[in-house]
């Protein structure tokens, strides 16, 4: 769980810590990551930021750029065997569709499974420790941090991501309200903010802006778009 003192301490401690901690971070990262399937790659002929960065990652050009290399997917060779020790095939219900995930590592968080296996990249990885809320999704209609739970724990449950909420031309009222009120700047936290905002509509919280502040406290916006986010949430609550 988040606490600012911990975050502060981390930045203080970083200078003093063992240089091997970067290696550990990369080792932790590499286990969840899988290559894009061939069909997904062919669909991405159209040039995009995501395909550009993924391509660079695959050819290793960014190997020396630690911050980007740690954030972008590392690519492991395709698995030749369908049964890998410790891995298992499971089915998850995501945005109303049954998704079969072959050979899923038990260590795969729900967040990494959504992003790296199913390429539902609307859900963002921020802190990866339940402190920022960028990874917020709904499980059985309740909001959770998808970074702090393993995919294996969610068979038989209804998982909803930002992709399942609305789509261009048919936005969820909360998505439309965020657009109307400019409830973002860089946009990185936005999908998590919207997933939280939609969930709070069904929670027994009070009617005031102060109640919105507390109910949205698990979603950090480093651009500081809070005032506009609260305006968007207030508008949708008044329409409900």
């Amino acid at each position: 769980m988040a606490d600012s003192s911990d975050l502060r301490s981390k930045s203080v401690l970083a200078d003093l810590s063992d240089p091997s901690s970067d290696d550990q971070a990369q080792e932790r990262q590499s286990i969840e990551l899988e290559p894009l399937p061939a069909e997904a790659t062919s669909l991405r002929r159209r040039f995009s930021r995501r395909s550009f960065l993924s391509g660079l990652g695959a050819t290793g050009i960014l190997a020396g750029a630690a911050p980007l290399a740690a954030a972008a997917p590392a690519v492991e060779p395709p698995s030749q065997s369908s049964a890998v020790a410790g891995k298992r095939t499971l089915t998850l219900n995501i945005n109303g569709k049954e998704q079969v995930l072959r050979d899923l590592d038990p260590r795969a968080t729900l967040l990494d499974t959504l992003r790296e296996r199913l390429h539902l990249t609307g859900t963002k990885k921020g802190c990866d420790h339940g402190q920022c809320g960028a990874c917020t999704v709904h499980v059985n209609g309740r909001r959770i941090n998808s970074c702090l739970t393993f995919a294996w724990m969610h068979e038989g449950e209804r998982i909803t991501t930002i992709e399942g909420l609305g789509e261009p031309g048919n936005l969820h009222p909360m998505q439309a309200a965020f657009v109307e009120h400019d409830g973002y700047q860089c946009g990185y936290c936005t999908s998590g903010q919207i997933m939280s905002a939609v969930a709070l509509l069904k929670e027994p919280i009070g009617p005031s802006d102060e109640d919105i502040h507390h109910a949205m406290a698990g979603n950090i916006c480093r651009c500081g778009a809070y005032t506009n986010i609260v305006a968007a949430v207030r508008q949708v609550r008044s329409q409900a």
Binding site: M1, S5, L13, S17, G86, D105, T136, G218
Partner: protein, 329 residues
């Protein structure tokens, strides 16, 4: 993250029979976090989310039975908890974020681990890393003379000054909760005062659970008729932050005198800190600021601050005085 065997348990019997060294996983909010940091490296995880421990039920004696898998948000918003155990509802809602409260369970919150930055540092307790007796006994405690602004002032030892982070447990200490556990040797109950352990010379032992024992229920005794309860939490910001000092008070006042009072402090102790000494100061006395201050002085009489956390002693006293005022107003 080190790999692990993943076992799904459908019954309590299967869960406790799996492997004594396995860790149970429910919400995962502490465990997954610490596995990513290499602080927890379990060889096996037992997923207990399918166990039938999800109910809140009234007991025949007027108490309340809370299943270990009841999520923090559901417990805080339960009508009976809001009505008869307000201190518990307030404590839970003051902690973490809505997403985390939707995940975290009653049993897991009892086992929440410290936020000490040294304890959470991946290499702590290993050669070349910070000393942490909780991670690796005998490696020392870097917090004793280090960054210890958020550390405990009560119940500390020369081996560990890590603060117990839970708000829920502080309220449960004031409510005299009883914890039901089940293991290979059968069922037993543990009073919350006996559940969490002081660090002493063995800070790696945090609670009274035997290896493989599972928390199944938490019972709250029948509410004291006519009593009021309050949880007051002081922290660096108004939400989504751990306590620097907190107080849970359950008090019954009649004609200006305190008939009974239970006091527990959070954010300042190495365990949820019940203060029978402060309660004794107040019992039978008029509910006034002088007596509140005397109780606060008594509660913190044995405080041992270490540098950066010295401010917590006075902060905790004022926190207790204020919460006593609120509970007896």
């Amino acid at each position: 993250m080190q790999t692990f065997e993943f076992v799904h348990a459908e019954t309590v019997e299967k869960a406790i029979a799996t492997r004594p060294e396995a860790r149970f996983i429910a919400g995962g909010t502490t465990l997954v976090d610490l596995m990513k940091l290499s602080v927890e490296t379990p060889a096996a995880l037992v997923n207990i989310n399918a166990l039938p421990l999800t109910k809140v039920e009234k007991l025949p004696d007027g108490g309340l039975r809370i299943g270990a898998l009841v999520r923090n948000s559901d417990l805080a918003w339960h009508p009976e908890v809001q009505k008869s155990y307000a201190v518990l509802s307030q404590a839970i809602l003051s902690g973490a974020s809505p997403q985390l409260r939707n995940m975290a369970t009653t049993g897991g919150n009892l086992l929440q681990r410290t936020r000490c930055a040294y304890f959470r540092e991946p290499t702590a307790g290993t050669p070349g890393g910070y000393g942490c007796n909780k991670r690796t006994p005998g490696t020392g405690c870097a917090a004793l003379d280090g960054l210890n602004r958020t550390h405990a002032v009560l119940g500390t030892s020369d081996h560990c000054i890590a603060t117990h982070p839970s708000d829920m447990c502080v309220a449960m200490a004031a409510l005299e909760a009883v914890i039901h556990v089940e293991g290979a040797k059968g069922k037993r109950t543990i009073a919350i005062a006996e559940f969490h352990k002081l660090p002493g010379s063995t800070p790696q032992i945090e609670n009274a659970l035997e290896p493989g024992e599972l928390v199944t229920y938490v019972d709250l005794p029948k509410p004291i008729e006519g009593a009021r309860s309050v949880y007051l939490k002081l922290r660096d910001r108004a939400s989504y932050e751990f306590a620097l000092a907190s107080a849970a008070v359950v008090a019954k006042v009649e004609i200006g005198r305190i008939q009974s009072v239970r006091i527990a402090l959070g954010g300042v102790g190495t365990k949820p800190w019940r203060s029978p000494e402060a309660e004794a100061v107040l019992t039978g006395k008029p509910a006034n600021p002088e007596n509140f201050r005397a109780a606060a002085e008594t509660a913190l009489a044995n405080a041992h601050p270490r540098g950066e956390n010295a401010f917590k002693v006075e902060l905790a006293k004022r926190c207790l005085v204020r919460s006593l005022k609120l509970a007896t107003a």
